[in-house]
Symmetry: C2
Subunit: 369 residues, 2 copies
């Protein structure tokens, strides 16, 4: 690709030059998608997470998303992960992007209480505790080191690597880690509900920091320790994959504000990777009035651009999907990153219209419509 | 490739037509190598397995081989897996084939007591019991089903798939399953020692069958049940990967007589896969006077050819490697399958001489020579 002209399906925020350089290097090339699923009991604190019909069901969301991606159905729970009101998991869009692009994909288990009934890369992690305990994640170093090896292995086989997450409660743990690292001084993280429970999240984070005996900013240079205290098991796996892969091939960090903690951790541990990765997300997240991915990224690095996909569900015949336009869901399961990757990997052949149509087919099949 | 003329590095036994058809379809194409590691406590029965310096150390062999392949060093034990006398693991040849070909590779954990310190695909399996108990493997169906999904996922991403194993005690469990299925009526399986403890292995198998309350041949139509009784956890994972992949891409079954149980199981469960896979092994195994892969294969199917690599260590300056020419080791960790795959995948560019030279470099590095 010379004289890069982005298709209208994609938009860029931040360092345009780095974004265009990376995109031009992987345009029409062969990528791999990974989704790291994990549990943190933080999601069961009533009110924190809407990524599940009830606080208890949030624990099934990550594992069920993994099953949905691999086998098209769920085994660990009945039905598919939904938010209250029946809004379907963004895995529907991820699956559309993978279907249309033919991109290979793998599940990574960062640490789950519920084991997904699919093959996954094990990272030696366990389910995370509530961050209010101040000791949220065990084996952080092991998870990170295995993630790093996995990143190297994937970079050996593909031209670029997409990482992503499904971990309910993950915006709260992200706020925890970003606060412990001193990256954020205000609560800018997102929610899968348009009614972002900001006060509750800030309170949970403050409790966690107090329980760990740390002040905001104390762990500026130690992201792995910050994760140990107030993070979740998805984070060290993805920081590892990102750092292990980005030293040799470009990486797309798929996801919303949950992945900000991953980006901040990677930038701190391996600053030399900056310039070889960008965030891949959705216009829903970029336009969210109740959070600010842009401001968060400005706090992390001026050299990690954001590339977003302009998928639009306002013309959908299904209310569950229209709800994405009303501020529900917005991101998750790498729906933005996989879409961005599918468009780039097919040299722009896949359009937003193609993705929307495929989401409808998937949604109809799942719902038996 | 038209008018296939095999390079002198490779030899074929059995159905030449099928072998040539498969090879011509993957000549110069892009494959992936997998090694499934597992433990069975059968290997700790004194005298059964020499894949380890002592019966206890045999439990570390599979996991340490996985670590050696991925990170070039071992974490779960000191030094590398050896047979008594200091003969190094065949993973040295596997690593040479992977290094030279640049082929991507993944570790699969069929069920290990010792967890390898590397990323691996988890199959939900556990360490196998001694087959003398008559209930050797738990979760066989789950391991098989997850293997099948993994086979499908790999076939999506690569032109062909290589499967293999590192599981000490695996020729004894193979004899168990092949006897329970009625495929073998005599003990034709191999050993990593030139002094194959045939009587002991037959006795252990007879005990296992008696404990399970089955007669030879009783489980002709139920390989998964045979594995449950007298197999090991490597088997259902590899049968699954083989069947899941071979319905769409060719598969190379890397390994010796241990893999005969995998082939027999796959042929029974998915006979339609026959014609889309062959065994990949070494001339050491093919020439073994104390076992007969040829006879075993004749008992399983006339349509599963064997392709072997003509690697020869007789000119090696190192006694540990020369020992391969005296009947030690012969196979394991997919050393034959990965070599065959490396030669085919590079359209014959890699020769036996290249592999031998690279093995020397790896051996010298490991031994600090």
């Amino acid at each position: 690709m010379t004289g890069l002209e982005l298709p209208p399906s994609l938009g860029v925020y931040g360092n345009q030059k780095i974004a265009e350089d990376i995109i031009s290097r992987i345009w029409g090339k062969r990528g791999v998608f990974t989704c790291t699923v994990a549990n943190t009991r933080t999601s069961t604190i009533p009110g924190v997470s809407e990524a599940g019909d009830t606080p208890e069901l949030t624990m099934f969301t990550g594992p069920a998303d993994a099953e949905l991606l691999v086998s098209g159905k769920t085994t660990c729970m009945k039905g598919i992960p939904i938010n209250p009101g029946g809004i379907p998991t963004p895995a529907t869009l991820t699956k559309a992007a993978l279907d249309l692009s033919g991109m290979p994909y793998y599940i990574v288990n960062g640490g789950c209480e519920i084991k997904p009934y699919v093959p996954y890369f094990d990272m030696g992690g366990e389910c995370g505790e509530r961050i209010t305990t101040g000791h949220a994640v065990k084996n952080v170093k092991e998870i990170y080191e295995k993630g790093y090896m996995l990143g190297e292995m994937l970079a050996r086989a593909y031209d670029y690597v997409i990482i992503s997450e499904s971990c309910a409660g993950g915006t709260t743990t992200a706020l925890g880690v970003l606060t412990a690292m001193g990256v954020l001084k205000e609560n800018l993280v997102s929610s899968s509900s348009p009614n972002n429970p900001k006060e509750l999240k800030s309170k949970v984070v403050a409790e966690g920091l107090a329980a760990a005996g740390i002040e905001p900013g104390d762990l500026a240079d130690d992201p792995l320790r910050a994760i140990e205290c107030v993070g979740d098991p998805m984070m060290p796996a993805n920081i590892g994959i990102l750092c292990g892969a980005a030293k040799s091939v470009p990486v797309i960090v798929g996801g919303g504000t949950q992945m900000a903690a991953v980006i901040a951790g990677a930038v701190k541990l391996h600053p030399e990777c900056v310039g070889n990765f960008f965030q891949g997300t959705t216009r829903w997240l970029m336009n969210d009035p109740n959070s600010s991915m842009k401001k968060i990224m400005d706090c992390i690095s001026a050299d990690v651009p954001i590339v977003y996909v302009n998928v639009d569900y306002s013309g959908s015949p299904y209310e569950g999907l229209q709800a994405y336009e009303w501020g529900f869901i917005k991101e998750g399961v790498g729906c933005g990153g996989s879409s961005v990757g599918a468009i780039i990997g097919t040299a722009g052949k896949i359009t937003c219209k193609d993705l929307e149509d495929q989401v409808h087919r998937i949604y109809e099949k799942i719902m038996g419509l």
